[in-house]
């Protein structure tokens, strides 16, 4: 964990409201998929608090990690301001923070499920899996409102992972929720594990589906947090195993086994 004022390398618009921003740093060579950063505009007090962003990808040059990327949707004050950043701007970042998706080289079949901008940490996860394993039998399930919100499809395809799509309005892929196409695939081809990130409703559904089919399931969740380092205790998450005390997204997560936590509306 480190606090750095670092340079923006690029800030590319992927689609209306969606951007991929690159930051220059040599401190992320041991960062793992699922970990996050806390971002702030240096020396500004409005917006006041840092915002958490998953690490979307690492940037490598000549075999060295020279930076990282975040994928974000413009939803509020901070992301609006972020969308106006240009190359060379300085951003104050603390990271890498939190735990990560645990993986195994022995998985023959992995399902990655991403809803909307929840795809952000999943591309990093997929590229790490691809480095150590044959991913040709793995599948990624992308869900979004419409074709305009569908992100990273080609990136997953390039990694050699099968991409299945569902949109709520049916503008591309199958009409419906991503969890509908997931259930169909589970019946055809039982996976070793499900990894997920997306809206709370989707994560709740993943918890139910994985329990029903006895498949281990790990999800990355997002909660409001002020510090990201375990000081504010704002990011409380209800625990199934220890109901007498809360877990915290920044200390115990952001990746949780769906059997560990109770899904209430985090945001």
């Amino acid at each position: 964990m480190r606090q750095e004022k670092i340079k923006v390398l690029w800030n590319k618009k992927l689609a209306p409201f969606y951007y991929r921003i690159g930051f220059k740093s040599n401190k992320y060579s041991s960062a793992k998929p699922g970990q996050f950063i806390m971002l702030r505009f240096a020396d500004q007090i409005n917006p006041l608090l840092r915002r958490p962003f998953s690490i979307h990808r690492l940037i490598s040059r000549d075999g060295n990690i020279v930076g990282l990327e975040a994928l974000y949707k413009v939803v509020g004050k901070c992301t609006k301001k972020l969308s106006m950043c240009v190359e060379g701007d300085i951003i104050d970042i603390i990271g890498p923070l939190g735990n990560s998706f645990t993986t195994s080289d022995n998985y023959n079949n992995v399902f990655i499920v991403a809803g909307g901008v929840g795809v952000a940490p999943m591309l990093f996860l997929a590229s790490c899996l691809q480095q150590n394993t044959d991913v040709s039998k793995f599948s990624v399930f992308l869900g979004s409102r419409s074709k305009h919100d569908l992100l990273c499809k080609d990136d997953f395809s390039r990694l050699g992972i099968k991409v299945l799509i569902a949109t709520e309005d049916g503008s591309t892929g199958k009409k419906g929720f991503v969890t509908d196409i997931l259930e169909t695939s589970i019946k055809e081809n039982h996976p070793d594990i499900i990894y997920g990130c997306g809206p709370t409703a989707m994560l709740k559904a993943l918890a139910l589906i994985s329990e029903m089919h006895s498949i281990p399931c790990r999800v990355s969740i997002e909660t409001i947090m002020a510090c990201g380092i375990g000081a504010c205790l704002g990011c409380a998450v209800e625990s199934k195993k220890t109901p007498e005390k809360y877990l915290h997204t920044c200390l115990n997560g952001p990746v949780f086994d769906t059997k560990e936590i109770k899904f209430v509306n985090f945001l």
Binding site: R2, Q3, N46, L48, A226, I229, A231, G234, A236
Partner: protein, 308 residues
């Protein structure tokens, strides 16, 4: 080359190498920050509010940002006395910085019991008594808004410990100076003010409060002018040291409190935003003193000129 200015101040019998402390509830048990800066540079550390038994705290959402501030309703989640002593204190003892333990209880008996159980523990320099948490019923606020109740609880704590005693005051009162005078009379060695200001925030789409607790405590730059005004008022009414807290983000903010008469300051919400805020503030105060040829920090404390 000029000699570095003397930043030392005293709170009760405790000497601080500089006047910058961390505010309770914003700095965990200090180890959370160990990778981010040299903790021994701090004037003092005040750890998260502690109760005899562990406490789960309030339901989430517990935090919401407001213009230049934040509302929190954590609800004093903490590990409890035994776990604190076993797992948290050993690390704090390795630091060359005094540790103050912030305590709260649901009644006078609990406050006094906690103080007496800490009394002979080595590595704890002093106690900050929280009679001002707005977020839970048993958070002391009932004691903090009435001069007589405040007197009674501090009297009981005073009898239970010989350690340096700071009392943290609530701004959610008509006249904070009355509470300050009561706790001084009851034997407090210092007062710290202000705790958060009770506030709320509403989601207009769902028409629900943004905090599960409905109300929360406002902190951050938004409350600094209120804190500063209250510190200035209290300084004129008590003889014990006053510690300024509330929205301090920069060395300039801290200097305003010192000029108003605060002997030391606590940095709170700034720790979340800039974990190095305390160090930036210590260095900034030092630079300011050098620039203005002020040899000792105590030469600037309480120098507010209201005559013009």
């Amino acid at each position: 080359m000029k000699k570095n200015p003397d930043l030392e101040v005293s709170i009760g019998e405790i000497k601080l190498k500089n006047p910058v402390m961390t505010a309770s509830g914003t700095f965990g048990y200090a180890s959370e920050f160990k990778e981010l800066f040299e903790l021994s540079r701090l004037g003092a550390i005040i750890v998260k509010g502690l109760s005899i038994e562990a406490s789960k705290g309030n339901k989430p959402p517990r935090i919401v940002e407001t213009p230049c501030g934040m509302l929190n309703a954590i609800g004093l989640e903490n590990v409890g006395l035994e776990v604190f002593l076993q797992e948290k204190l050993p690390f704090l003892k390795t630091l060359a910085t005094p540790t103050f333990v912030n305590i709260y209880g649901k009644d006078i008996v609990e406050y006094a019991e906690l103080a007496s159980r800490i009394d002979d523990i080595e590595g704890i320099s002093g106690i900050e008594v929280n009679i001002s948490c707005p977020n839970i019923k048993a958070g002391g606020m009932a004691f903090g808004v009435d001069p007589e109740s405040a007197f009674n609880v501090i009297k009981a704590v005073r009898k239970s410990t010989a350690k340096t005693l700071i009392v943290k005051l609530s701004p959610n009162v008509t006249d904070i100076t009355k509470i300050a005078k009561s706790v001084e009379e009851a034997g407090a060695d210092a007062v710290s003010l202000i705790n958060t200001i009770t506030g709320m925030s509403i989601d207009i789409e769902t028409r629900r409060p943004k905090l599960a607790n409905i109300t929360g405590g406002l902190s951050g730059p938004a409350i600094k002018p209120v804190a500063l005004r209250m510190v200035w008022q209290v300084v004129q009414k008590v003889k014990i040291p006053v510690i300024g807290v509330g929205g301090i983000m920069t060395p300039e903010d801290a200097l305003e409190f010192l000029i108003a008469g605060a002997v030391a300051v606590q940095v709170g919400t700034a720790n979340f935003i800039n974990p190095n805020a305390t160090i930036d503030i210590i260095e900034g105060i030092e630079k300011f003193l050098i620039k203005n040829n002020i040899p000792k920090i105590t030469d600037i404390i309480g120098t507010l000129d209201v005559e013009g």
